[in-house]
Symmetry: C2
């Protein structure tokens, strides 16, 4: 599995991804899932990939071939980012169809999902989620983040924290916490973590980090978060009976197979 | 969907479950998924259910019928809890086979998963996870909690907090936070929340709560957790460049389609 996410805030876009790939529980290896395409001052594109590694690599190869080829649509020439999203969806679908059309019934899935984000000069930063079927959606102020791969473990913290007014650095920290929670709960997501901060209107890739498990910054975030959560947890309000053990206000009468009495 | 969990700590067992059931996005209704069977001073059993509501209700009916019937295995007469787990697995499998053996090809799943926990006089508290296939596993100090249903959103906090030395009340608060995170991220899990605290060797059901969204205690936990997380998040260590903007220690040179340079 994989875990990649991106968050579009007023200050720009944050991208983050893990680097673990595997076939079953064997063949575990390390691949970056973050792919950058930047023409400084003109356009910056970041592509995050999840799914079948053969498919995503084939899509990336075709992207490079098209960039080298005159007279075909490519990442640099397509005017709008939604056209780039459509183009990537088309490539992905073509690769998948090529793999399945051979007539071999396969139990493996060739599907791949992408997050595309970036900015073209003169337009606002944009972010797209591209489905295996080739269609895509864009973000909104109510849905300022996208996730692909093993998304559920790391979603609650994003739901609670990410909003457009967040600073780029805070969004990056939130992404790190989300990935840390996922790595703790799921073996198939692993370091190193790629983090990229794109500042709105900079039209260049300003900051890209690769954090290993023992990177001092990542370690300090993980440690402080874990310790803070424990403290926070210990400070949660006590139940009534912990406060005043003589005076229970709670139902303690349930002693048989009867259900609860209160319903809504 | 459903979300139920249980945690076995030195002080006893905590059980918690949501109450939302649905068929598709329609037919949303409220059912308790927590079923208690207590013979004070003799044995206490708690059953949490997830999956097909028809299957779990059929299993519960059969449990009641067997309890009323002389001369058959039942929840009260089976000497060991692992035998009770096996018995419930058998009932569940029989119900599912009855539904599928009619020859009708169905796109729905009749599967059900259960958590069984409790204590028999003279033995330690025990906890079992019963799979749809009828087999089951027990907990261990390294795996002191079980989850069924929509489990991923609420797992990171359990991974971080639950351990055998936790008090019963702390384990219950952790369960509430885990359910709260799940409800925020997934519509198919909803209130009211059933929480049951079983104190080791009490051999009776001491405390059972039913918390609605607006229950003062649940509200205060949710609120304090949400506010604390935000604070904790804001206090995370700053990136190097936030500390000393003149002195960047990070790679800011990536400007083309090149991948990261550092690898592990």
């Amino acid at each position: 599995m994989t875990y990649c996410l991106s968050a579009l805030v007023d200050a720009g876009i944050v991208f983050a991804s893990d680097s673990r790939t595997h076939a079953g529980v064997d063949h575990v290896s390390t691949y970056s899932k973050m792919h950058t395409f930047a023409w400084d001052g003109e356009r910056v594109l970041v592509l995050l990939s999840a799914g079948n590694l053969g498919t995503t690599q084939a899509v990336l190869r075709q992207i490079d071939l098209d960039l080298a080829d005159e007279g075909v649509d490519d990442l640099r020439s397509l005017p709008h980012l939604h056209q780039v999203a459509e183009y990537i969806g088309r490539l992905s679908l073509r690769v998948q169809q090529g793999l399945t059309s051979g007539g071999m019934q396969q139990s493996v899935s060739f599907e791949a999902t992408f997050i595309l984000g970036g900015q073209r000069r003169g337009l606002a930063p944009e972010m797209y989620l591209i489905y295996p079927q080739g269609n895509y959606i864009t973000s909104s102020p109510e849905q300022p983040f996208f996730q692909i791969g093993e998304t559920k473990y790391g979603k609650p913290i994003l739901d609670r924290i990410v909003q457009p007014s967040l600073s780029l650095e805070s969004a990056a920290r939130c992404a790190l916490v989300s990935i840390d929670s996922t790595m703790r709960s799921n073996l198939s997501v692993g370091p190193p973590i790629d983090v990229l901060l794109y500042s709105r209107d900079s039209l260049r890739i300003d900051r890209r980090l690769r954090l290993k498990t023992n990177s001092p910054y990542f370690m300090s975030v993980r440690k402080q978060w874990a310790a803070g959560l424990k403290r926070l947890f210990e400070d949660l309000p006590p139940f009534d009976w912990e406060r005043q053990t003589g005076q229970l206000t709670l139902d303690t009468s349930a002693t048989g197979p009867a259900g609860p009495t209160e319903r809504e």
